[in-house]
Each structure stands twice: as C-alpha cells, then as structure tokens.
Amino acid sequence: MMQLPSGSQDALGLIVNQRLEIFEKFHRTTTIRGFNTISTPVVEYAETFTNPFIGMKLQSMLKWFDEDGEIEVLRPDWTIAIARALANDHSHCKKWAYQGSVFQRDKPGMEYRQVGIEVVDTDPTLGEFECLFLAKQFLKEIQCEPYYIELGHTGFFEQLTLAMQLTDKVSEQLRQAMHDKNKDQVFKIAKQHSNQQHAEELVELINAFGSTEILDRYATHWSNHSELLGIIDHLKTIVKVLQDIGMNQILIDLGRVKNLPYYSGIMFRGFSQTKGTTLFSGGRYDRLYDQYERKRTAVGLAFDVDELVHHIKARSNQKRICLLASIDTLAEAELLLQEYGDCIIDIQFERDEAKTYDLVLQIVKKNGAIEVIHQ
C-alpha cells in the first residue's frame, strides 16, 4: 500500500530542516536557562487524560485496546503526561523542557510537533515570568516574526459566577458560551439561573478584551471587588515587567475562560501579528496535581512547531560550496570539507548544473600533488 492514512503526511527538505532548527534552538535556550529535559512515552493509558480531573475527550484521541482490554492512546497532550511522570518525582528540579509530538484525530494533520516547558514548585509569579521570559528569548533566537502576547485569567469568570451556584452542567454550558463569546447565550443562561445583573456583568466580560488599558478600566469598574482587583493587580505586574524588558505588544482578554478543568490562574497565548495564528499557549494549572494528592504550583507553555516554521527566517546566509572530486581525491575533499565550518558543502564527482553554489572548488591530483582549483 503506497497511500498514507488521512491526516498523516510526509515532510521533505526545508520544512524538516526548519523543525530541526527549532528543536535545536529550543534545547539550547532551555539549557542555558537551567531547564532539565524530560521525555515521556508516546503510548499512554487513555484514563490518564480522560479522568475527571483532566476531562479530555476520548473521541479526539488515537486509541486501541491492549490485551487486557485497557484503552491505550497516542499521547494527546504533553502537560498531562508530564504531570503523571512527575507525580512521584521528588528531585529538586523545578524546570522541565520537552519536545516531541502530540496526536489528536479531530484536527487536520493528526500529529502535532511541540516544544514546551513546565515549571513546578516555584514561587507562582516567578514561574509565570520564567515562561514568558523564555518565550521572548526563544522566539528571538529563532528570529520569529512579530507577535502579540495575550494575557487572561481563569479567576474573572470563576469569581463572577461564584454567587450563581450553578450546577456542573449549567456551569459548563455557560463556560462554553463564554468561550465562544456568544453574548445572547451567555445572557440567556445567566439570567435563567441567576438574575439580570449577573447576566449583564458576564456579557460585559465578553467584550473586555483589547490593549492593556482594559486593566485600568476594569480596575475602576471592579473597585469594590477585592478578589477581582487582586487579579487585575497581578496582571498589571506581569504587564509592567514585560514592558520593562521590551515586550510591548500585549493584549488582554478578561473574558477568556479555561478550556480544561484544571487551569487555575493566568493563561497566556502568543499570536502572529501577520497571520493571527497561535504560536504558543499555556498558563497556570496547580489543580492538575490534585489527582496525585500533591499540592504543587505548576505553570507552563507549549510552542506549536508546525506553526512556527511558517514564521521564522530560513537560514539564508550560509555559503553553499561544491567540492568537485574524483575517486583519487575523495579523501582530500573530505578533509577540506572540515575546514569550512558553518557552510553547506556538497562533495560531487560532477557538477550538478541544477544546483546553485556560492563557490565551486575542484580538487585534482597532478603529479602526486593535490591542487584546489576555483571554478
């Protein structure tokens, strides 16, 4: 059979090189920032991802039964797999970096390459900054196109719906409507299960997105609500430090809600300024470790490698050299190759006219002596 299953795809040449470059530079960046590398198996039990603490949908996973009738899946998410791996880890390492694929069958492509970090057991604010600082350093390292950073927080929706005492089912319907910024549905659910005032507050929250000025506006709006003011102050602190290190393209979305039940604080996302596509996303998820009965702080983010390859500059400044050799001068050509460090070098027996080189050198042997001729 020569065909590929729907969603699977081969990749050749430039795109693979760019992926490798991203992996390489991510490893370099995380290493110099003191991260340890972690790897988890690509095959896991479905239960790790579908249990009530996590809530991922089994339908979207690539799965099969093992010989004991347990459902196994191809890793659909890194963060959850790492939490499982670190559940019994009592080392002092707090900063972990990973790279590899995740698999989801309900999206085109099925296999998604990611690089990312998890920061556990650190001061919460410091962990959040570590994620954002790393994002800046890494995206600069790969010469990524300009991007926005968006900040949100799970606390706004949670605080504003606390008094409504919603059942789990209604709470999920309301969360989904907020996630979709579906004004009429939010209003309808909130009014039906609470009152007009709560409904109007939530509808207003849907529109609370834009530049960092939103924070000042809502600090005034919620001046009597100490919990919400506390979250606003926290976001202001983050914004201030990001601006101090030159990250000025910051967006705020106070109406953003969590996608998975274990998110518990700040949420961030990076958008390409040119195409609007998501380059990275992450946030705080201390609750993720509740399932292992461990109280931990945890924050992290993942970069979408398949998206990043479309936003980085290709290595164009490397010189391309062709060394023309014969069977008699092959050894000399190989020794010469090693002198050209960072260049891209082809050793050929004959010049390939279809290829373009900056330099073509012919290595010939005359009367027993080696001669290098510039062509």
């Binding site: 979709d180 910024k181 997105f209 967006l251 609007g276 596509t277």
Partner: protein, 212 residues
C-alpha cells in the same frame, strides 16, 4: 489591512444582503457581482460560500468574519467565536414524517442532513434509531421508503405540506449568526468591532452609509 467577510450563498444570501442594507451598508457591489464569488471594495473583501464552508473559512482564518446559519454551527461545531444572533434565517429543527398513528416496528430509520443534531436529539429521548445521511431533498426519504421519518430544518413548512409530511416534534430554533475567527477578533479588533456593532440587532442602525 482589509476585513475579509464570508457570506452564505443560497438560502441566507438575499436575507443577509437585505439586512446589511437595513443596517446602512451599501451592498450594491455585492448585488451587482454577477457570477463572481469574491468582491473586493475599499474596506472589505467579501466572498460567498456554502454555509459549512463559511464556517471552515472562518475557523482557518481565511475569513475574519462570517455570516452563517446556526444549524451549521450546531451540527459541525467549528472552533470559532459565535458572536451574535441576527434577525433573519429563522428556522426550527424538526422531526417530520408521514402522518400515521402506527408506531414503527423495531428501530426507526431517520434521514437527515444533520446526523450530529439528530443523534443527540434521539440520545436525549433515549430512543435508538438508525440514521441515513442525505445531502438534500430529505423529504423524499419517507416518501420513497428510505426512512421512516426525517430530521431537518423547517422555515415555513410549505415543502413538508406539499409533500404530504407533517412536523411531529420541533426541538431547536435557529437564526443566522455572525461568527469570527478566534485570533482575528483579537488581532484586528479595531477593524472588526465597528462592523460587528453595526450588524448587532441590539444596536441602533447606523446613519453613516459605507460600501461593503
């Protein structure tokens, strides 16, 4: 930077253009587009596609905004912002069939263009059925014996009546909706909000006319 808007052709197209005109947009370039599927003006790029494709174009960021039937959004669940309901394209989802007192023997076969909606409807009722997915003229299925009943959208009920079918149960109400790409709304906020506010039925119609 221009705003790219995907509009649904067919059933919703005329109602959509009428509505945009009511909201003080000059839709002449869209009416006079001839057979062109894409029209570009000073501020907008507008194209016409099938409803489900509108959702796909918006989800993938090709279009920033789209106007599409809620039936499509409910059936296909695209990952988009489902911003506001619009006061046209009103219809209901209904179970319909040939009027009969007799309960079918065994499982019913249901023909539909909306298998996900139909599946969840019968799941909630606790009834097992077999679904047959059709692409159009669903009313034919019970008449020709392919299915016992159908699940389909009903606007006026005329097609059902003329084919001797009756509504047995209505269970959802839909309208056209304005959807947005999740990133575009953040990145192009200042471009998109004036358009969204202008077409929001809760807002006052604008007085300034602009070309679409």
């Amino acid at each position: 930077m221009k705003l790219c808007i995907a509009l649904t052709k067919g059933r919703l197209e005329e109602q959509c253009l009428d509505y945009l005109e009511q909201r003080a947009f000059d839709v002449t370039p869209l009416i006079e587009k001839g057979r062109k599927l894409c029209v570009e003006t000073d501020h907008f790029k507008v194209f016409f596609a099938k409803g489900v494709d509108v959702a796909t174009y918006v989800e993938n960021g090709i279009a920033d905004l789209g106007i599409v039937g809620e039936d499509i959004l409910t059936e296909y669940q695209p990952d988009v912002f489902n911003l506001i309901g619009l006061p046209f394209g009103i219809c209901r989802m209904a179970l319909a069939g040939i009027p009969t007192e007799e309960a079918p023997e065994g499982k019913r076969t249901i023909a539909t263009k909306y298998p996900n909606i139909a599946r969840s409807f019968f799941q909630e009722k606790g009834e097992s059925v077999d679904l047959v997915k059709l692409e159009g003229s669903v009313e034919l299925a019970p008449l020709l014996g392919l299915a016992d009943d159908i699940v389909d959208i009903v606007e006026t009920g005329t097609t059902l009546r003329e084919n001797g079918l009756v509504v047995k149960e209505e269970f959802m109400r839909f309208s056209a909706r304005c959807i947005a790409n999740r990133s575009s709304l953040k990145v192009k906020r200042s471009l998109m909000l004036p358009f969204i506010e202008a077409i929001d039925k809760e807002s006052e119609p604008r007085h300034v006319s602009s070309n679409l």
